[in-house]
Symmetry: C2
Subunit: 248 residues, 2 copies
């Protein structure tokens, strides 16, 4: 069959496109993608963050942004926040409005976010992928050259199994997997210091190593991480020296 990566063209003006995926929803992809983008920018790089979750764009709230982007010379100018450039479907629809679209519309949105938004000058464009292995993933990988993918999982068996499927998809479509991040790894009671493995623990690291993939770290379950996401202050920006801020 045809080489799946034969006719992909790199995105003009962008050095590296990094996808953040998981397979399963609710494991912390958006939280990791936002914090990763801001942490990269803190090292001096020019960074863009694209929200690939067309149905459930949570990044506008996590980034504390809810204004519409401007258009200049026919191109959309991404919003600047926390030192990075940002674009999301959530900036284009009213809060509470459902985007009830079938697959081909998703394809159109991804194409537009990649080619109609002005990402020029970015060293990194981080793309937060939705759950699953469908239209958005396929369209992203067919429309541009993805340098690599970061996989986020919790230690629960069902999350690991969905992460393995996401890895199988990237392998099939010839996108290198850069490594695995385990999130919600454990919870420490701040009253008595007891450690609780609510979603189990360590399974992400074991599985990554068994698959020959780099393990990029474990992030504890902490109420401040959720609060940062709900109030638009990602912990890497708001509490960089905290244990969870450092891990992220």
């Amino acid at each position: 069959p045809k080489d799946p990566s034969a006719d992909r063209k790199a995105l003009a003006g962008v050095a590296h496109v990094i996808a953040v995926g998981a397979g399963k929803g609710g494991v912390g992809k958006s939280t990791v993608a936002a914090n990763l983008a801001i942490a990269l920018a803190q090292t001096g790089a020019t960074v863009g963050l694209m929200d690939g979750d067309i149905y459930g764009p949570n990044l506008p709230r996590m980034m504390g942004v809810n204004r519409q982007p401007f258009t200049q010379d026919g191109r959309i100018i991404p919003i600047e926040a926390h030192g990075i450039r940002f674009m999301s479907m959530g900036l284009l629809v009213e809060a509470g409005e459902a985007v009830v679209w079938r697959g081909p519309m998703l394809h159109g949105a991804v194409k537009s976010f990649l080619h109609d938004v002005d990402w020029s000058g970015c060293d990194y464009l981080i793309v937060d992928l939705p759950p699953g292995t469908g239209d958005v993933q396929l369209s992203l990988i067919q429309q541009t050259v993805v340098t690599g993918a970061v996989i986020v999982t919790t230690p629960s068996t069902v999350a690991i199994e969905d992460a393995v499927k996401a890895i199988a998809m990237f392998d099939k479509l010839q996108v290198p997997v850069l490594g695995v991040i385990e999130n919600m790894s454990y919870f420490v009671c701040n009253n008595c210091n007891e450690r609780h493995d609510i979603f189990s623990t360590g399974a992400g690291q074991d599985r990554a190593l068994a698959m020959g993939l780099p393990f990029l770290g474990a992030i504890p379950l902490h109420p401040e991480v959720r609060a940062g996401g709900d109030t638009g202050k990602p912990v890497v920006a708001a509490q960089p020296d905290s244990p969870y801020g450092m891990e992220l």
Copy 2:
């Protein structure tokens, strides 16, 4: 415009189709759907459970089932487990195999699961929906009469916002919302009894009531609920008298 519910036909031999949705992934839809189906069967009803998550079918593991269904007279016979009938994409593909499909293939799978599987005689068919408001949701609602939808959310703001979008979709497509369940509502340390609102707390109830929807209950975050899902022993079947078993 045309009445969206004009030409829907009820599923032959099934009294009620109940959708379990959320908008956001990872909030506990599959866990609630499996336990709800088993709890309904314990009251004497004949119950079917259909896994609508084609990309990430977690129900086979949660139900402890991994054998392929038989076909008889051209119809698929659902698998019997924990006193209910069950069908999932996960029973048709190898573990770890990614289903990398675009929208139209999802539509085909939903049509087949509804019309080619023998659900006749079911008082209730519970359908576990995937995250989002896309092809699977549209195909289910267009292919049959859905009696009502149950919405699952965690108390975090981003999960609530996605649940509101799912409710807006059901309203737009004229499917009544039966109520809202808040999951992962709080965590109690078993060492010192301190209560932790990791994903916040009570927001699901407030929002449901504000929207005039029944609040169906709050389920605590508990390691046994996750363990039940990872080992194929849903807590309603394995530990019915536990606090989380009773809530479910």
